[in-house]
Symmetry: C2
Subunit: 268 residues, 2 copies
Amino acid sequence: MITSLQNARVKQVVRLRQRRHRESEGLFLIEGYREIQCAVDACIGVKALFTCEQFYGHSDTRTLVRRLVENADISIEPVSREVFAKISVRENSDGLLAVAPSPAWPINDMQVPPNGLFLISTATEKPGNLGTILRSADAAGVDGVVVCGSGTDVLNPNVVRASLGTVFSVPVAQADADSVRSWIKRHTLWTIAATPDADRLYTEVDMVRPCAVLMGSEHAGLDGEWLNSADERVRLPSVGQADSINVAMAATVMLFEARRQRGIESTD
Amino acid sequence: MITSLQNARVKQVVRLRQRRHRESEGLFLIEGYREIQCAVDACIGVKALFTCEQFYGHSDTRTLVRRLVENADISIEPVSREVFAKISVRENSDGLLAVAPSPAWPINDMQVPPNGLFLISTATEKPGNLGTILRSADAAGVDGVVVCGSGTDVLNPNVVRASLGTVFSVPVAQADADSVRSWIKRHTLWTIAATPDADRLYTEVDMVRPCAVLMGSEHAGLDGEWLNSADERVRLPSVGQADSINVAMAATVMLFEARRQRGIESTD
C-alpha cells in the first residue's frame, strides 16, 4: 500500500491534473465508479487503478476492481486515506482513481452519418459547463461533440467528472479551429452559431439537415471568425434577465430542439 | 470593524445557513454583488450588510454600498478578511454579504394570468439544481416557480447563489403540497408531470393552455401522490445513457418547449 505523499506515482497523478502534463505523458485521470465503468465499456485501456477501500461508495465497486484485475496489463495500487485524498480531485470519487492513455480522438475519425447532428464547443472555459454539454449531447443523441481551442480540454478531470462518464459514450473529437473548419467543409455541415446578437430565434432554423451547433465561451461568446463563417446565427428568446441562462443550458435547449425537429427518438 | 470570529453577529450569520434558524429568526443571507443588486431591485429590505473591501470584486460595488447606506434602516458592518471568509459560503462573493428578512412568498399571493405557465419543484434536493431551475424559469419567462416540500428551501444561500439572483426576479412561492394542490385546483391549472416512466413525450402535450410542470427529486423523481394526481405524465426522449440529464436540465428543456409552443417572445 502506498502511504507516502512523496511517492513518485502519487506525484505523477497530481501532475496529470494539468493539461501540459497530460499532453506530454499521453495519460489522463478518471475518478469514480460510474466514470471508470463508462471508460471500460468504451474500451479505454486503464493502465493503473489507485484504490482506497475506506472510500468505496458503490456496491459494485469490488466487481469492477475484479474485472480490471483480470486484465493483465493493469497495476492495482492500494493507497492510504491521506494519499487518496491528495490524488483525488473530487470529494466523492468512490475510492477509485484510474490512469489511462489519452485517446487521440482525431477529428478525421469522427463518423458523419447522412443527417449528422454535431455540437462544436469552440471555447468553453469551465469544466462543469463542458461536462454538462457532453451530458446533454448524450441525452439528445447527437452524433458527436467537437472540442476546439486551447482552453479546457475534454480530458480535464473535472470535465470527465461533470460529464458523468458521457465523455466516453458520446463520440468526441478534439482539434484546432482550422482542422474543424476543414472537416465541416468536407462534410458540408450547415453551421448554426448561438449568439445573443442574432435576429433569428433558434426555433426558426432547420436543424433536420446535417448540421453543427457552434457554442462560444462563457464570457465572450463565439469569436468573430466563427460568427462570420457560420451559415446561420440564432439566439434564445430573451424574456428574462440578461445572462440568466449559461452556455451549457443554451446548448441543452438547442440540442433538444434539434432532436424535436428530427422526430424525437430517431437517432439517424 | 468586526475582527473576532466569536462576535455574536458573526455567529448569527453562520447560523442562518441552516433552514431552522432562517425560519425561527425570519432572516436569510444574500451573498455577492449581483445577487444583492437583484434583491434590492426586488424591494427586499436588506437589514445588515457585511463588507470586506479586500474582496470587492465588482467595479460598481461601492455604488451599491452607497445606495444601501442611504437607507437609514440598514447597518453596515465592515469585517476583517478572516471574518468574511468565515461568514461567506461562496469563494467569490465580492466582499458583500447581506442579511434580509425572509419574504413569505405565500402561494395565495402568486398571480395567475389567463395563460399562466408555472414550474412546481416538489422535492429538489440540491441547491445548485434549484438555482438552475430558477435561472431557466426566468429565461423562459414563466409566470412563477412554486417550491414545496421540506427539503431544500428557496432561501438556502446556495440556491440564492446558484440562481444568480433570479430568485428575486421570477415570482416565487413556497408552500406545503396540500396548499399547492388546492391552489392548482382553484386556478384550474393543467398539471404535467415529468417522469421517465411516461409513454408520452414532452413535445406531444399542449403547454399553451394554463399549466404547471411538476418536477420531482433528483433520486426518486415525483412521489406517487403527485404522479397520480397529474393530468399528464411526460418524459424526455431517452436516446443516450440513462440518467445523463438531470432534473434541472430536464426542467430547462421543458420550459423552453412551453415557450416555443407559446410563441417564443410573448410572455402572456
